[in-house]
């Protein structure tokens, strides 16, 4: 009995391999329809329709990137304006102190740099990277996700029931993932 409990605690989920991208999208759609929510799909290339099938929507990264980029650009402009007009007013080439066209290249570059950094760092944080251990790598087959394997993993649930469901969707093989 303790043995049984132990293995149930170690159970993470199931991973199923499908024949191709269309089969993977179809299986994902029917898994969602059947009520499975903790799904993850793995394919060697971006499969059209797969993100929609998983109802994956990323709203945070563009918003964070845009607002941080705009803030940094405004700060860069302010710094140039402050140094040239308030802190150390100095006439160059007979131009007005607030020579805003000259401030724009730096403003633009700081803005772009901050946007890219904000987008990259937010993406890594939301992906929970770097991540040193994931049960999915306990499946020997999984390396094929980078070559020719199309995988769907289902977390939790009753293993026997989920396995039957995945086989009914045409999975080529189904394996259990242990923690």
């Amino acid at each position: 009995m303790t043995e049984q409990n132990h293995s149930e605690q170690d159970h993470y989920g199931l991973i199923a391999r499908f024949a191709g991208p269309e089969a993977l999208v179809a299986a994902t759609l029917s898994a969602r329809e059947a009520g499975y929510r903790r799904l993850e799909a793995h394919a060697p290339f971006p499969v059209p329709g797969l993100a929609e099938a998983l109802t994956f929507r990323e709203r945070g990264i563009p918003l964070i990137a845009l607002s941080l980029g705009a803030t940094a650009a405004a700060a860069a402009f302010f710094l140039q304006w402050y140094t040239a007009v308030i802190d150390y007013p100095f006439v160059v080439g007979g131009k007005p102190l607030n020579s805003w066209p000259a401030f724009l290249p730096v403003t633009f570059q700081v803005g772009i740099f901050s946007t890219v950094m904000a987008a990259t760092i937010t993406m890594l944080a939301k992906d929970r990277l770097p991540h040193y251990y994931h049960p999915i790598f306990n499946c020997d087959d999984f390396a094929r996700a980078s070559a020719d394997g199309f995988f769907l993993s289902v977390r939790g649930g009753d293993p026997a029931e989920v396995e039957d469901f995945l086989r009914a969707q045409g999975a080529e093989n189904v394996r259990e993932l242990m923690l």
């Binding site: 563009p62 066209p101 724009l104 290249p105």
Partner: protein, 345 residues
């Protein structure tokens, strides 16, 4: 579009231009030049899109190719509108004055800026563009593989065309990025025109690709236009900065701001949103704004060269823009109808 559709419009433009040049003098000639260049930008931009599509292929190109072909087919109308101006060079260009009346910097340019060479060059540009349009299958079913050399030739011809017909209006001024700025502006206007006419009929994926291309071209325009400004503004040399001073006085200052907002800023903000890029109505709104900005921008590039506004120009410019535009539209429509008829046969 077949020559059959172009002919009446071409004759109308030739006759109207010749009549106006004979009667109206300088005010008419400058307004006519602005109107012709506003609408002539569209076939020139469409030529570049046709060649780009020929090089890259792709779904966006298959969907939009009929639009580029139809726009490029109005090229003879542009040639017809420009032809009468070749006989009125003295009303447009100050370098046609006797040499002793010109400033020294202009006198040094007379080996390039003289009437016979100018006329030969102008005919050359149109020969190149019409030849490219013909080779690309605008008036026939076959397409010759001229896209790669054609794009280079297109940009070179456009750069020299810009030097001649835009920059030499103020012969002291010199800017070597001018052709690139004008080229990106024309392609952006042509894409806007194609989206306005066809966004509803394209499939969403192709429409999104064209919107992304449009965004890149608009950014290219902003980059070249700002580069020219920052270089000339920083150097502040008398021969060059005068060009910007003429364009920031009186009514031209608000016009420059409005045309920037309409041509670049509004479409740019719309195109930032991924959702708006997928919707035909938002794209058509951005395209209409860009075209309105294009009209103001060409006026802003051409008309300040002639000093203050003369009284007739206040109504002449909008009237000519409308008339030339209407003849263009008529030619375009007739061509579309004849094409459709030919396909039905």
């Amino acid at each position: 579009m077949t020559p059959r559709a172009i002919l009446p419009g071409g004759i109308a433009l030739l006759a109207l231009g010749a009549l106006g040049a004979a009667l109206g003098g300088a005010a008419f000639a400058s307004s006519w030049l602005a109107a012709a260049l506003i609408w002539g930008s569209l076939p020139l931009g469409a030529l570049a899109m046709l060649m780009t599509q020929g090089l890259t292929g792709g779904r966006w190109g298959e969907q939009s190719r009929p639009l580029w072909l139809a726009l490029a087919a109005t090229l003879p109308l542009f040639a017809a509108a420009m032809l009468p101006l070749l006989f009125g060079l003295h009303t447009l260009f100050s370098w046609t004055l006797p040499a002793q009346e010109l400033p020294e910097v202009v006198r040094n340019k007379l080996a390039y800026l003289n009437r016979p060479f100018f006329v030969v060059r102008s005919l050359g540009y149109f020969a190149i563009w019409l030849g490219l349009a013909w080779a690309l299958g605008v008036w026939r079913r076959r397409t010759a593989p001229v896209q790669a050399p054609g794009l280079i030739l297109w940009l070179l011809a456009l750069t020299f065309f810009a030097f001649d017909w835009f920059m030499s209006l103020e012969p002291e001024f010199y800017s070597d990025i001018y052709g690139l700025m004008l080229g990106t502006g024309m392609v952006a206007a042509a894409i806007a025109c194609a989206l306005l006419l066809g966004a509803q009929h394209m499939d969403p994926g192709a429409r999104r690709d064209i919107a992304n291309l449009w965004l890149a071209i608009l950014l290219g325009w902003a980059f070249t236009a700002f580069s020219q400004y920052i270089v000339i503004w920083s150097a502040n040399l008398p021969d060059e900065i005068g060009w910007y001073i003429h364009r920031s006085q009186g009514a031209w200052r608000p016009i420059s701001v409005i045309s920037f907002v309409l041509f670049f800023l509004l479409p740019f903000i719309v195109l930032l949103s991924s959702a708006a890029k997928g919707r035909a109505d938002w794209l058509m709104f951005a395209a209409a704004s860009c075209l309105a900005g294009h009209i103001l921008q060409i006026c802003w590039l051409i008309l300040p060269a002639f000093g203050g506004w003369s009284a007739p120009q206040v109504w002449l410019v909008p009237a000519l823009v409308l008339v030339v535009g209407a003849i263009y539209g008529a030619g375009y429509n007739a061509g579309q109808r004849i094409n459709r008829g030919a396909e039905d046969d």
